[in-house]
């Protein structure tokens, strides 16, 4: 099956590994990702904090391109891009005047028909259908992830209905269980890591991350697993600083959900680019004899 694919800027740069992993893993599950042509940046939260028109217009251009692709579904793995695009689709549906205004500037017009999916929307289906277990050649025994959703996968600046629970989502746990891992219950799964505050208001972000890491450790987790490139980058690249400042002794690798799938499916760590993490992420997998 072919579906449209919007990687977003992160997956073309600092989180390229996530892009590679998504393509390989979904291919194993029978899904071919067709990157939409000439996509642009979604504007992320920066647009909404700066300009109301661009907040809608930037994702709208991508929606027009996606609609023109002729495919019925589009995967957006980045939580921020997913959030902005889904909200824009709803705003344009409710506001035809704005839609027309934006469409006059676009060569590929928004029709609003493509279905937007997060990576979990797809993976949970594949877990429930048994396809993930079927394609896995290893059980991820001993892996006790704290499934970290962050903000933008479940919370939207508007009335958007999603299939998971907003306060206590379980989708990532469903996928982890299908892989044979033992996801733990914990309290900070939808708390904020600070996102861009890591760069522009570092103290605030380090404090928020310290609470998340402390709770995961207190519950006995041995790693984080996430679907958001921003959460992944922050929790991974800044973990050293957080641990130093808040006296946290142990560090936890921060995996993308896709690399855990990849390992279970028998891909090598090189194929999954697991060496591109800041906190050592190969050690735990070796210790558990998963690689």
């Amino acid at each position: 099956m072919q579906i449209a694919y919007y990687p977003g800027c992160s997956l073309h740069a600092s989180s390229e590994l996530y892009d590679i992993q998504c393509k390989k893993v979904l291919n194993q599950l029978g899904i071919e990702l067709k990157e939409i042509e000439d996509w642009n940046c979604c504007g992320a939260t920066s647009a909404s904090k700066t300009d109301d028109f661009l907040t809608v217009a930037l994702p709208a251009r991508n929606l027009g391109i996606a609609d023109a692709s002729g495919l019925s579904e589009m995967l957006i793995p980045c939580s921020s891009c997913y959030n902005r695009t889904l909200v824009t689709q709803k705003i344009l549906y409710e506001n035809p005047e704005l839609k027309n205004k934006i469409n006059t500037e676009l060569s590929k017009k928004v029709e609003g028909k493509i279905r937007i999916s997060s990576i979990l929307d797809i993976l949970v289906c594949k877990a429930n259908s048994g396809e993930i277990a079927e394609k896995s050649i290893k059980k991820l025994e001993g892996l006790k992830p704290a499934c970290y959703y962050g903000c933008l996968l479940t919370r939207f600046p508007g009335d958007i209905k999603i299939s998971d629970n907003i306060e206590n989502p379980r989708g990532m746990e469903t996928v982890c269980k299908a892989l044979g891992a033992e996801p733990l219950d914990w309290s900070y799964k939808t708390d904020c890591c600070g996102a861009s505050a890591a760069v522009n208001d570092t103290d605030t972000s380090l404090f928020l991350m310290s609470k998340i890491i402390k709770d995961a450790l207190a519950r006995g987790s041995n790693c984080f697993v996430t679907t958001c490139p921003m959460c992944q980058m922050n929790m991974d690249a800044y973990q050293d600083q957080v641990c130093e400042r808040y006296g946290i002794q142990k560090k936890l690798p921060v995996y993308f959900i896709t690399e855990l799938l990849g390992i279970a499916m028998g891909f090598t760590p090189q194929e999954m680019h697991i060496d591109r993490h800041f906190v050592d992420s190969l050690g735990l997998l070796r210790e558990l004899k998963l690689i």
Partner: protein, 204 residues
């Protein structure tokens, strides 16, 4: 911060409420101060001002306090306040609107780095249609440096900031997470047209 008693300012109250409601699309008059938003706000402890308080400031017509407080700059846009509000008020949207009005009214941002970050992000998008992390961080660093030099932070503040980002940059390079390839879209003219229209929409 701001635990001062709010004063009702009838002359500015109505215009401020109307402007914020129109631009944010949020019915802030529906707020009955249950403070569920405040309980969930991850930066509320630090800012002193919580989303409920922000709404109160607007309703009371405290224009200056509403446009110039720590919450509008420290808000991490986690949208917890909005999803927990029993009356469906997206305070984060109100926050974004206040940030924009504050800029238009030429208030100096309390956290200038936050303002510089988002401005640089949108600027970067306008250049290539996509955000190139190196170019974006360069724009951001330049904005910060300009401000520090103008407002007395001096070269030391500039150097400290650059050192901080360089450290992250170096570890990103080691982990092959830094990209030097320039990602540019083909129909960049469409993005330029959208930016022009955005300017028109905002009234030039």
């Amino acid at each position: 911060m701001s635990t001062s008693v709010l004063q009702f300012q009838p002359e500015s109250s109505q215009t401020l409420i109307q402007e914020v409601m129109d631009r944010s699309g949020q019915n802030l008059l529906a707020c009955y101060q249950c403070r569920r938003c405040a309980a969930g706000c991850p930066v509320g402890d630090e800012t002193g001002v919580t989303p409920d308080r922000l709404i109160r400031m607007i309703i009371f017509g405290e224009r200056e306090e509403a446009l110039n407080n720590l919450l509008i700059w420290k808000c991490v846009a986690c949208y917890t306040c909005g999803t927990r509000c029993p009356n469906n008020i997206q305070t984060a949207r109100i926050n974004e609107t206040l940030k924009q009005i504050s800029k238009e009214a030429h208030f100096e941002p309390i956290l200038p780095k936050v303002a510089a970050f988002h401005d640089a992000f949108l600027r970067s998008t306008s250049h290539f249609g996509r955000v190139n992390e190196l170019e974006f961080m360069g724009l951001y660093a330049m904005r910060n440096a300009k401000r520090e030099l103008k407002h007395g932070g001096g070269w030391k503040a500039v150097a400290d900031e650059i050192k901080k980002h360089a450290k992250l940059g170096i570890s990103m390079m080691k982990k092959k997470r830094m990209h030097f390839r320039l990602d540019k879209i083909k129909r960049l003219f469409e993005i330029k047209r959208l930016y022009t229209k955005a300017k028109d929409e905002a009234g030039g």
